[in-house]
């Protein structure tokens, strides 16, 4: 079956959608189609990928306007009677074609206080940890850094507040550290001021697109917000209670 694709070609100075049609066979995913077009007709088409199995988070793009991993988007799930549009993630500056500049995510991560374990429990330098405590943070540690959640978050996408808000991915990362059973650092101050957790107004768009099904808002962001509140506003509340008897 021949399907028409409209792929965004261009760079930082601009670009446009170009039409390519290619034959689609059983089981193909969008990334396969892009590779086929690249090998046959657009040798210089820029696209990122690595694992082709949803494990590395390299192949993020917007397929028919939806943020997706191209390697996990099956052609059979799309309406191929229409053209399929493939664009780069729009929340990041374009480099070329489907490749965007995601360096900001790496820079912002560096500023988050690193893992700081408590003293080991055992003489051989190891810790005893309950599986239940491991399970609690495992969800956050599944993150493959595809940055699709960053791509849809309106604080970054529409308001471009990259300097004031670290975005859902890095809030997930902070949650993984904060709830790590061995970690002792306190990141709530940073979360409140520098990382801008207050800018998230819980629209849950990030959770909807996460290919790892991480419940970003409910399980990571809201508990972090609560921690921030406990840490910074609780004493006031206590004081209030004292006065009101």
């Amino acid at each position: 079956m021949v399907v028409n694709f409209r792929i965004w070609r261009g760079d930082a100075s601009g670009g446009q959608l170009r039409d390519y049609s290619t034959s689609v066979t059983e089981g193909m995913v969008v990334l396969d189609a892009v590779h086929q077009i690249q090998a046959e007709r657009a040798n210089d088409l820029a696209v990122r990928w690595n694992c082709k199995a949803g494990k590395c988070g390299s192949c993020s793009a917007e397929v028919n306007g939806q943020p997706k991993l191209m390697c996990m988007t099956r052609m059979s799930d799309l309406d191929t009677s229409q053209s399929i549009t493939i664009e780069p993630m729009r929340a990041f500056p374009p480099i070329r074609d489907l490749v965007t500049d995601v360096k900001w995510n790496f820079e912002a991560k560096k500023r988050i206080q690193k893992f700081t374990p408590r003293a080991p429990d055992n003489d051989d330098g190891t810790w005893n940890v309950d599986q239940g405590d491991v399970d609690r943070v495992q969800e956050f540690r599944k993150c493959i850094e595809c940055f699709l959640c960053q791509d849809v978050c309106h604080v970054l996408r529409e308001h471009h507040l990259h300097q004031r808000f670290i975005g859902p991915r890095l809030l997930v990362y902070s949650a993984a550290l904060e709830m790590h059973p061995l970690d002792t650092a306190d990141r709530t101050g940073d979360l409140r001021s520098r990382d801008g957790i207050g800018l998230c107004n819980i629209t849950k768009c990030c959770t909807k697109v996460c290919p790892e099904n991480i419940t970003i808002t409910d399980n990571a962001i809201i508990p972090l917000k609560e921690r921030v509140v406990d840490r910074f506003y609780d004493p006031l509340r206590k004081l209030f209670r004292v006065f009101s008897g």
Binding site: T25, D44, A53, S58, K114, F115, V134
Partner: protein, 605 residues
């Protein structure tokens, strides 16, 4: 004249997988200035895809385990072609390297007592693989990456090294380009660590990504280093076979570790039909015993599905060849059957093998808790690589170190699952340590400018004067994959390999005319063109080494020499670049086992 930017370091690490990151962390901890270069974004290297676990004799689950047993298992698995000292160091140091990861934030699955949990894997006598569900590699690379970014290491993401620079006999740095803009860069360095991973893209059916084009093997080879054991390419027994576009994607051995069984279309568990002599004492007598083993019964022996990968892959090929395979050219791997034994099997499978569940559901539309998977062999790993000193990881070129999959010596003729992630940690650390030490004894780095200029000119050739008569780089890569898959694949024969070598030669001539449209900015076609030389080099090395070993051992199966040859069993194949530029092959004796090592192996028969 193309110009370039210079980024000088004491130690340059090429590759940001587990080996490269661990090496960089170690080198930086000594105070050396360290730069790390990688082709993809940080955290996307192959290590991220590893599933099953990291092997280390922590003895948390079975106290009978220890480094001696791990050493013996590794030697047996490698069919005694491993460098004994490397296998010894690896077994001794792996536990500390795993514990250290925990101190850096990795969270492994736990035992009842809260210790690191370990799982069974093929060829390991006791449960030995520390793991996080089936995404151990992600946990490992993220831990190293997040620890590493606070160590003052400079990371050059999406930069590719195309040539190593030498000052006389000594390594002097590397030349490369950044993918984003196509700008050239020179990394003058006192010591260079190659940690570039494997060569899987040389084959049609592979679990490997675009990055695995054998760059490090080829860079080192062209810089004068020796490669050993290149005939030993691991074909993992279980890759996906359907639908066609996912052919080759890995299905972790963890499925079998959790009780998954292999069956042919007649419903027979064919793995019981052929159990090699070397493993007879350690294999379950019947399915019942095999099941008990996977459930942690310490008195049971492993089911034959958990024999070494080379053997399982060959049994699968035999079933398919003899007409007992599925219509898509695979066999069945069934984990759903465990519901006959476990009350909550569905949940259990989803918890133990979450990414396999996800992968099959999303890519094949199959629920593995209900129906069997279809699997067949896929190119997975190369045991062969850059010859290194066991203690220091220095190659045969002064100042050039190697670690991880691109280095050789630990795995001999066949690698045990889980022994790669531990290899990265143990020898990554050592490479970092000794490279930093080497660098500390050197004066400032200098490099011959004309080498950098020649490298720049060569890199630009595919872009010069693009015409439709030029060779398409994707087509060349694809043709090479067919040559290797058909001619030097799982089952090998002399005449087919000779033909493959002739075809490689023809491809090399075509590659001289490779041509791509567009400019230097993030041009995947150009990148593919520049990787070709590496792919051709490693393909030739694999074919020549395989041809030079007329016997079947470990991962090498020769249809024309189906038996082992005792004499060849004492030799490692060595390839290097001769003075005339032609590839040379010779055989060196495997280093003698020490008395102590002999004793350990005997004790653990």
């Amino acid at each position: 004249m193309p110009n370039y930017r210079e980024h000088p370091y004491d130690v340059l690490v090429i590759g940001a997988g587990g080996a490269g990151l661990r090496a960089a962390i170690e080198a930086a901890s000594t105070g050396a200035s360290v730069g790390i270069v990688c082709k993809s974004l940080l955290g996307k290297a192959h290590t991220v895809m590893a599933e099953g676990g990291v092997a280390a004799a922590l003895a948390n689950v079975d106290e009978r385990d220890g480094w001696r047993v791990h050493f013996a298992d590794t030697m047996r698995g490698g069919q005694y072609l491993s460098q004994p000292r490397m296998a010894e160091i690896h077994a001794q140091e792996a536990p500390d390297r795993v514990r250290e990861l925990e101190a850096w934030g990795a969270l492994f699955d736990r035992t009842q007592e809260g210790r690191i949990l370990q799982r069974n894997f093929g060829g390991h006598k006791y449960p030995r693989l520390a793991h996080v569900g089936d995404r151990t590699g992600l946990e490992m690379i993220r831990t190293l990456q997040d620890h590493g970014i606070h160590q003052g290491i400079e990371v050059h993401m999406e930069c590719t090294v195309t040539t190593l620079l030498k000052d006389g006999e000594r390594i002097a740095g590397a030349f490369g380009y950044d993918r984003e803009r196509g700008r050239f860069m020179v990394f003058p360095a006192k010591a260079v660590i190659v940690a570039t991973g494997g060569v899987g893209r040389a084959f049609r059916i592979t679990s490997n990504s675009w990055e695995y084009t054998g760059d490090g093997h080829s860079l080192a080879y062209h810089a004068g280093a020796e490669l050993i054991d290149m005939e030993f390419v691991q074909f993992h027994p279980t890759g996906m076979v359907w639908p066609p576009s996912v052919k080759g994607i890995l299905v972790t051995e963890g499925v079998r570790g959790e009780g998954g069984v292999l069956k042919n279309t007649e419903g027979r568990r064919f793995m019981f039909d052929d159990i090699p002599e070397l493993y007879r004492n350690q294999t379950a007598a019947d399915p019942e015993e095999g099941w008990r083993y996977t459930q942690g019964d310490r008195d049971a022996n492993r089911p034959p599905e958990l024999l070494t990968r080379d053997h399982v892959a060959r049994c699968i090929v035999r079933e398919i060849k003899e007409g007992r395979g599925t219509e898509h050219g695979g066999v069945f791997l069934d984990i759903a059957w465990i519901k006959e034994r476990l009350p909550n099997a569905e949940e259990h499978i989803k918890r133990k093998l979450p990414s396999m569940y996800h992968q099959f559901r999303e890519l094949a539309g199959i629920d593995i808790t209900k129906v069997p998977m279809e699997v067949g062999p896929t190119t997975h790993y190369i045991m062969g690589g850059i010859r290194v000193d066991a203690e220091t990881q220095m190659s045969t070129v002064e100042g050039l170190f190697a670690a991880g999959e691109c280095a050789a010596g630990l795995h001999g003729a066949n690698r045990l699952g889980g022994n790669s992630l531990s290899d990265l940690l143990v020898f990554g650390k050592r490479a970092g340590e000794y490279a930093a030490r080497f660098a500390a004894e050197r004066a400032t780095e200098s490099y011959p400018k004309e080498q950098a200029e020649a490298a720049a000119a060569a890199a630009l050739e595919p872009l010069d004067g693009h015409t439709s008569q030029g060779q398409n780089p994707y087509k060349l890569q694809s043709d090479l994959q067919d040559v290797m898959q058909d001619g030097v694949g799982i089952v090998r024969k002399e005449d087919e390999m000779k033909e493959a070598l002739r075809r490689i030669d023809r491809l090399r001539r075509r590659a001289a005319n490779v041509s791509v449209p567009g400019n230097r900015e993030y041009n995947n076609g150009w990148h593919t063109a520049l990787d070709l030389e590496h792919l051709l080099t490693v393909s030739e090395a694999i074919a020549r080494s395989a041809l030079g070993r007329p016997e079947s051992r470990g991962a090498q199966f020769r249809e024309d020499y189906p038996e082992k040859d005792a004499e060849l069993g004492k030799l490692n194949t060595v390839v290097w670049r001769g003075a005339d530029g032609e590839m040379q092959v010779r055989f060196d004796p495997v280093p003698e086992l020490s008395e102590e090592q002999k004793k350990i192996i005997e004790e653990n028969q």
